[in-house]
């Protein structure tokens, strides 16, 4: 498919161009988009470039952190305020990929990629668009991702995680750390009075986007983070999830190992 590249100085102009062309894609670091361009099978006919890139700002209003769509994985990994997200950012490719790959790009990554988006889903991130005042929940964003590609993401915002043990992430891969993921799991398990309150568990490669493990969340809610609770969460984890089969792993394999990794993530010191 012949490709057209449109370059804009102002992101508002780029947003206008995207809103009128369903076959256009905005390029962030290019680490995913350019693979398709190089192969000539990109499935789009226009690449929109924002000169100078998208916002690389990381802002805090105390309780929440706003991360610009142009912030790279390397910048997240190096930012003290975002230390809780570093484990997800550090496992995205090698240093040259992390220096280019952006938050905005990762939101649109297809399986087996998208580790950061899995983490953002567990954190209950909000998606902020250029020219739209009202943010969208990441759950809604991911549900509509395949259908609505006419808005440019300006930033994502996440709650500040004060207790590092409340947020956990693991990428399961055959070639650590940069190999493509068999699956990744992010678990946000805030504790109140010794019990899990508001658990969000996200897992990748169980569908076309990262998905919540609702069964596991239900098993954890209101419970102490004990061996029994973790076992129950692991047993309920695959409820409603349909693991993918690809070159990396079969549906069966993913279904078998995902609960094991969730249990280890919830009880990292168990049996050691």
């Amino acid at each position: 498919m012949p490709l057209r590249v449109e370059t804009y100085d102002r992101i508002e102009d780029a947003a206008r161009a995207l809103s009128t062309n369903r076959n256009a894609r905005v390029i962030g670091g290019g680490t995913l988009l350019m693979r398709g361009v190089n192969a000539g099978v990109q499935g789009f006919d226009t690449v929109i470039v924002v000169r100078g890139g998208q916002s690389r700002e990381i802002q805090s209003d105390g309780a929440r952190l706003e991360i610009g769509a142009g912030v790279t994985m390397a910048s997240i990994a190096a930012n003290a305020d975002l230390a809780f997200l570093a484990p997800a950012a550090r496992v995205v490719g090698g240093p040259a990929v992390r220096a280019a790959a952006t938050v905005g790009g990762n939101l649109f990554a297809r399986p087996p990629f998208g580790e950061l988006t899995t983490a953002l889903l567990a954190l209950g991130a909000q998606i902020h668009y250029v020219g739209h005042g009202t943010p969208q929940s990441i759950d809604d964003f991911l549900r509509e991702r395949g259908r609505d590609r006419t808005r440019i993401v300006r930033a994502v915002s996440v709650p500040r995680i004060g207790d590092p043990s409340a947020f956990r992430f693991v990428k399961v891969t055959r070639v650590a750390p940069k190999g493509a993921a068999i699956l990744s799991i992010a678990a946000h398990v805030p504790m109140q009075g010794g019990r899990v309150t508001g658990a969000r568990i996200a897992v990748s490669n169980m569908g076309p986007t990262p998905l919540r493990a609702i069964g596991a969340e239900r098993a954890l809610e209101g419970q102490p983070l004990s061996d029994d609770t973790a076992q129950r969460a692991a047993a309920a984890m695959m409820e409603g999830l349909s693991p993918l089969t690809d070159e990396l792993a079969s549906e069966w394999y993913r279904r078998e190992v995902a609960p094991v990794h969730l249990r280890r993530l919830l009880l990292p010191n168990h049996g050691r």
Partner: protein, 162 residues
């Protein structure tokens, strides 16, 4: 196909080329400028053979849209040596036999240079991470890691002075 002008600095020299729509930086460097040091491996950002440094950061030129380097500084292995005088990293690679077929070597050198520019005294773990995006099917990596650590320690410069 329409072509667009792109201007950037390559190893300190100003370059102006025409890039086809969607052309990647690796093709522009090799075909447009004639710098054959960055290699084409996978074309997917997986092997690291095309690693260059853009504005101080390691980047994969095969998945970098050429137009996005407008006004930036690009470094390749072609700019490492000073005439016949090898860069300390090149010298260390030679002394440690860190290249066999040599295809990954330009990418390894640029990944290593990006590390040492930022962190002149890296640990072994730092080096392993720095080249974690670069595949080598010959050496088993040990010789490469040792060469980078050696270059960082200044041993190469000392050896050359002898």
């Amino acid at each position: 196909m329409a072509k667009k002008p792109v201007q950037f600095r390559l190893n300190g020299d100003e370059k102006a080329v025409f890039a086809a729509e969607g052309e990647n930086l690796l093709d522009v460097l090799r075909r447009g400028v004639g710098d054959l040091t960055p290699k084409f491996g996978c074309g997917q950002g997986t092997c690291g053979a095309c690693t260059v440094i853009i504005d101080g950061e390691p980047r994969l030129s095969c998945i970098t849209l050429a137009e996005t380097v407008e006004g930036k500084a690009v470094s390749t292995v072609a700019g490492l040596a000073d005439g016949a005088r090898l860069h300390p990293l090149q010298d260390a690679f030679m002394r440690h036999f860190a290249a066999q077929c040599g295809y990954c070597t330009p990418g390894m050198l640029m990944a290593a240079k990006a590390l040492l520019d930022r962190n002149p005294r890296p640990s072994r773990e730092d080096v392993v991470d720095a080249i974690s995006g670069n595949l080598c099917r010959c050496t088993g990596y040990e010789a490469i890691i040792n060469a980078i650590l050696d270059a960082a320690s200044g041993a190469s410069q000392n050896a050359r002075r002898v």
